[in-house]
Amino acid sequence: MAGILVIAEAAGTGVTRESLETASLAMRLAAAMQQPVCGALLGAGDLANAAAQFQCGFSALLLVESPQLATYVAQQYVAAVQSLIAKVQPAVVLFPHTAKSRDWAPRLAAKIGSGLVLDCVNVTVEQEGVTASKPMYGGGVLAKLVVHGDPALVSVRAGIFECAQLSSGGAVERMELPQLAAHPGIQHLESISIEGAGGQRLKDAKTIISGGRGIGEKDNWHFIVEAAAALGAAVGCSRPVADAGWVSSSSQVGLSGALVAPDIYIAVGISGAIQHLAGISSAKTVIAINNDPEADIFKRADYGVVDDFKEVLPAFVERIKQLRS
């Protein structure tokens, strides 16, 4: 087994930013290993446009295109990736760390007995072998892990690498999606799209305003929503807010939520727990509003205001509106 297989996720008519970031890590790793990179794209619908975006100088690009991939069914993804591995015979498989891959990759690893490290911030080749750098303990610790297996499986955290450059490569080839016998144990009944998530994709937003437990109660949440509307920002939240059901979990930023990479991230009533900060490591400028000057968020933030958000936020938003008009 040799070379790298990099698997992209299609989104709309293109590929996700995380996919292009993963491709750039793949190209870097390939240079170190002196081996080729093969690309692959999974998705429902016509992948021609996505394939044009996912031309990063690969030796070949494999497309697995099937309406059956429209609904996420874990076994279907496992089977698709398994057939890609059988065809390409790679030494390493890289893919973006997403809600889907977090589910299908460990199933695949267990099925084929490969080592897997999820949510890595780097992959290198060391004397001991393929080595993944992975944040643990919420991000307080960085581990170096040698990944064994044919192939070694690694998912890559969003927002760490630049997107790969467009560059022509080898042939584009279509592959059949393997047919599955329905899994006897699990039946997909329904997909319920999460209310409010339809607007801006948190992961692609340039500006995000997030509220935390410091907002106090659900009845205060309008402060965040109104500020977001005025700023043209997407709404995020910390875990206690999602757990309490003030907003849906799809808005949660952090280790067990979305990893975001906005130009501006405004944290309101958020203490700055390490698991929350893990989600904003790629945010360019962080602003914090918190009434506790000792809050850890001020160690991550570039600019901060110490006071009650109810005083600060409306005045801040009003002034921004004035300055923009």
Binding site: A99, K100, R102, P106, R107, A109, A110, G115, L116, L118, E128, P135, M136, Y137, G138, G140, V141, A143, L145, V146, H148, G149, G185, I186, Q187, L189, E190, S191, I192, S193, I194, L231, R239, D243, S249, L255, S256, I274, L277, T285, D296, I297, F298, K299, R300, D302, Y303, V305, V306, D307, K310, E311, V312, L313, P314, A315, F316, V317, R319, L323
Partner: protein
């Protein structure tokens, strides 16, 4: 319903990196003295959910933990919450297992417990941040698995309807038992131990199963840790001054405007 919950004892996730040190091997991390270890948060949600299912359907909740002898404390906490029995899985050769190794031991324990209808795990452990053990375990036991579970909508003796979270949707899934679920924090608020439970826990003898008891041979890691590094954050925000909160809010806006950020 015969339910097994896998619970891991972890360093308190609220411990800041500045209060953590590397263990002797350089391959583990511990809090500086005095901070007690705790039950992994998602595992506490899993214990709570198991107790609710038991209250509804009857049956038995068994908690298992793989760890050193101190993990007894976490098992006893689950007993104090209301679990019926517990087992510690402990052997010196299991000190530095990866997800595959951990799952191998847990799978052997579940086999030995026997007649299990449902295994509840946490969606991930707060030290490894891995989210893998549950899937390996499910594959080894040939159980259907779904994770992260934010709701159990319906439950009967032979099937469950659950909500699993994807990025921008929930999937409603029907899961046939026996099965395994990875539990997320949205699902419930774990109960505190009752006074009666605490007394029961104090009296509980925790049985220990080692490699010989489980007939588990030597385990080769699929992922080997070579190095750990503690990451300490030292930055400091520029604090915006002003007469009162509103003035500081306006000054913040002016600052960002001046920097052409907003």
């Amino acid at each position: 319903m015969n339910i097994v919950v896998t619970i891991k004892q972890v360093e308190d996730p609220a411990t800041p990196p500045s209060h953590m040190v590397l263990g002797a091997s350089g391959k583990s991390v511990q809090s500086v003295s005095g901070v007690p270890r705790v039950m992994n948060g998602y595992d506490a949600n899993a214990v709570e959910e198991a107790l609710r299912l038991k209250e509804k359907h009857g049956g038995k909740v068994t908690v298992v933990s793989l760890g050193d002898s101190s993990a007894r404390n976490t098992l006893k906490r689950a007993i104090a919450m209301g679990a019926d029995s517990c087992v510690l899985l402990s052997d010196p050769q299991w000190e530095l297992l990866d997800s595959f190794g951990t799952a191998t031991v847990l799978a052997a324990a579940i086999r030995k417990i026997g007649n299990v209808d449902l295994v509840l795990c946490g969606r991930q452990a707060s030290d490894s941040d891995a989210g893998q053990v549950l899937y390996w375990l499910a594959e080894m036991r040939e159980f259907p698995v779904a994770s992260p579970i934010v709701k159990i909508e319906e439950s009967s003796a032979d099937a469950l309807v659950v909500h699993s979270l994807l990025e921008e949707e929930y999937q409603r899934l029907s899961v046939k038992l026996p099965a395994l679920l990875g539990i997320s924090s949205e699902i419930n608020e774990p109960r505190q131990p009752s006074p009666k439970g605490t007394v029961t826990a104090t009296r509980t003898m925790v049985p220990t199963w080692n490699a010989a008891a489980l007939a588990v041979g030597p385990l080769t890691c699929k992922v080997d840790m070579t190095k750990l590094e503690i990451q300490i954050r030292t930055g400091k925000a520029e604090l915006i001054e002003g007469a009162d909160g509103a003035a500081r809010g306006r000054a913040l806006a002016d600052k960002l405007h001046q920097l052409e950020l907003l």
